[in-house]
């Protein structure tokens, strides 16, 4: 992956860049890791993706502005995960299918967000989130199982 400042990174920089996928500029992608992005993904402007490890983003993911992914080992974002603005996904994190990351939430490092979980606005997730639960707060706690 080459340094790409303030423009859409070119699909050829990725190990996979799905059909109908958009990284809206300005967007920075840095590091020498491998990045795979599925089909029909949209990441809005001002994203910053640092990857010196392995990052995979599944099909149909939607993120708002200012997404930050920091990946020095492995980060996996599964299919149909969505997020609002200013979401940070840190190293060694797995976000399972269909989960939602609220505005300004921070996930990780080293956590697993279960299938269909709702991470509340502004939550700071430092422990695993069980599937289909709602977490809020800093540190995030389960408010609805």
């Amino acid at each position: 992956v080459r340094l790409s400042l303030l423009r859409a990174p070119r699909p050829s920089s990725f190990t996979r860049f799905g059909r109908g996928t958009w990284l809206v500029p300005p967007c920075t992608v840095t590091g020498d890791g491998s990045i795979s992005i599925g089909d029909d993904v949209c990441v809005m402007e001002l994203a910053a993706i640092e990857c010196s490890g392995r990052l995979s983003i599944g099909d149909g993911c939607r993120f708002g502005r200012g997404l930050h992914v920091s990946c020095s080992t492995e980060v996996r974002i599964e299919d149909h995960v969505s997020g609002s603005d200013h979401v940070a996904v840190l190293d060694a994190t797995v976000v399972e299918a269909g989960a939602y990351l609220g505005y300004g939430s921070v996930v990780g490092p080293g956590v697993r967000v279960g299938r269909g979980a709702y991470v509340g606005e502004g939550a700071v997730v430092v422990d695993d989130v069980p599937a289909h639960t709602v977490v809020f707060g800093n540190p995030a706690v389960v408010v609805q199982a």
Binding site: P11, S12, V81, S84, G122
Partner: protein, 190 residues
């Protein structure tokens, strides 16, 4: 073949840049329900359904605002009102499917989120992104209130006149007039 691919990528870059520039240009004042004198929405900004947005006089909304006003719930016409002399910092995100009113002389710092709804999550068979928005609850920000950097005001909250929301606060309960709240979840400290 390599050259052809590079040409295709270049065309894609240009198309994307064009689309982005188009999306990030605020609509003209005439497109709004009302738009006061000497008010500015500084581009780039994303504004949807300006016909449901009332902007008072001498309002300043700084770069990268996202006024996301959407008729997403059946039978509800959304309405966003921003009062006179209110100043909204960069990267504000206002998600309105029902009713949000921001008073006069309100000041917000950067990266503020105000929302009257959230993504529904009740249906376990669907990804949350494909579920409908929750029924909105009105949000009101009183005259002269202040919202700190990165603060979040969630559905149903009323911030009273002169209320002070600290940086990074996540407000889930009403803030009384002239009260100071901080933290996540926000609690009253004064």
């Amino acid at each position: 073949v390599n050259l052809r691919r590079r040409a295709a990528e270049l065309r894609r870059d240009v198309a994307l840049a064009r689309a982005t520039v188009r999306d990030l240009r605020p609509p003209p004042p005439s497109a709004f329900a009302s738009f006061g004198a000497r008010s500015w929405i500084v581009p780039p900004a994303r504004v949807s359904t300006p016909s449901s947005i009332h902007v008072g006089d001498d309002v300043v909304i700084l770069e990268h605002a996202w006024l996301s006003v959407v008729a997403a719930v059946d039978g509800i016409v959304p309405s966003l009102r921003i009062g006179d002399r209110t100043r909204i910092g960069r990267l504000a995100h206002i998600a309105c499917v029902g009713e949000i009113s921001i008073g006069a002389d309100v000041l917000t710092a950067e990266r503020v989120f105000i929302g009257d709804t959230y993504h529904g999550y009740e249906d376990r068979s669907l990804p949350i992104v494909q579920q409908p928005m929750a029924h909105p609850r009105p949000v009101r920000i009183g005259d002269g209130a202040f919202l700190g950097v990165g603060s979040i005001v969630l559905a149903g909250v009323t911030v009273g006149e002169g209320g002070y929301v600290g940086a990074g606060a996540v407000v889930v309960d009403d803030v009384p007039e002239h009260a100071v709240v901080v933290g996540n979840p926000a609690r009253r400290v004064r």
